[in-house]
Amino acid sequence: MTALAPREASRARTASTAGATLQAEWTKARTAPGTFWLLLAGAGLTVALGLLADAATRCQAAACAIDPAKTALIGVYLGQAVIVIAGVSAIGGEYGNRMILTTLTATPRRSIVLLAKAVILAGLVAVTGVVAVGGSLLAGRLILPGHGIGPARGLPPLSLGDDAVLRAAIGTVLYLVLIALLSLGTAATTRDTATATGTVLALLYLFPIIAAVAGAQAGRHVQQVGPMTAGLAIQATIGLRDLPIGPWAGLGVLAAWAAGALIAGAASLRSRDA
């Protein structure tokens, strides 16, 4: 039985299942050819739409209620769709090509698999978010004051030194991370990339459309529960009193959606045959 003796030399230092699973998921993400380009596209589209909005927004009136941070960060409406692809594909892709069998054979503790995927995804999306938010704020800072949207009109400067802008910046990065986790959880629940993508995008995009027609009072409630409408309250730097929901409370609503999706995903992963 000597042939079966463990080959210590070829074993890494990692001794815990969680650590090894994390490393495996990182290797997966790193060696999947699309990951880098997909995330780059997410950041790029965010900045690009932000640039368009910066260029199109002008304020001629004496009193300007245009939120510079919100305008500069508007690209998140588009960029998040790419993050949804990344989140859904992280597990939906494995169901698509049945690699999930291999993954669960390697790590039978399924919650750990989902957790490791969540951690790696969150890290990658956070980096993407920092790039996207940084680029968007920089573009806004260069363009918006020239269009009458800046400190000259009593609006907060687009600088991380401003508390509200800092909150919007950090919050938007967190927003993207939570969107990714919502997508991951949904895909783990539905086990199908197409259904999960459609479901998450419908959750994001339908709430504001419904809110717009649901009447003033009901519309406010719709905005308070929608993952995007509530979550993006974090971008507001002016007129906080008129928001349907406070910035951090809104991000909390999105966090609840993401947590709910992950819990449903973990339950589905554990209870159903692979």
Binding site: A9, T31, D273
Partner: protein, 307 residues
Amino acid sequence: MEATIECSGLRKRFGPTVALDGMSFAVRPGQVTGFIGPNGAGKSTTMRVILGLDAAQAGTALVGGQRYASLRFPLRHVGSLLDASALQPSRTGRNHLLWLAHSQGLTSRRVDDVIERAGLSKAATRRAGGYSLGMRQRLGIAAALLGDPSVLMLDEPFNGMDPEGIVWMRGFLKSLAAQGRAVLVSSHLTSELQDTAEHLVIVGRGKVIADTSTADLLAAASGDRVIVRTSAPAEAAGVLSRAGGNAEVTGPDTLTVTGLAADRVVPLLTASAISFSEVSAQRATLEQAYLDLTRDVTDYRAQEAAR
């Protein structure tokens, strides 16, 4: 960990279909155990239950006395190949093995080892999606060997392999068993396992029909026969019967002999100056034995299908 697989009383149904109906057997170390049965007999489901991918509604499946899901780095104890195409086609074969290695706390050195052992060195840096079925089986074997496990469980590993690959696979499985590992190999083609499996678990309709050594199964099946073609069958029958054989005239110039080996038939006939045009030994095949055993099951299935 002890190199064994033990299943007892596994039951599972998918809606109205009974997949496992009290499946019980044990796999011992040091030999290749064939897991044989017609399509739909429950072989793959049993393996999925052993690996914790599917949950059985009753019964237990243990590997080395433990539940698979309780193993901390399961691939270091059990190597398995269930579905060779269950991989991401856009990743290279090597990177596929790399993430698997990392999931077990192993390094890339081990990956290169198994790539070489599975004969994949040339293809390892290509996209796995472009592999032929045989190449994918080799990649699956490499993945199964990654953790140097004491138990190996392979579902239809001969699928899609060319004759050269089949020969390689047989030798490879035998050598793995010779190192003291327990090796369970499923197949619906008995011929593939003819000279490889020393022990057989034959299943049908979700339960074990026979759990026996290959030698016993062959012996139990109709024994070796010798066919003699001669112009004087009656004389030949007399000579061979006197020598202790059991000869029967089965055609105008044909004789079927049992109880005498072919290398004894030839000198006996020559000594008695009986001319013959052909003496051929017919070995009982595993195929034959298997078909005898599973006839009921397959008949039942054919009737089911016809209904």
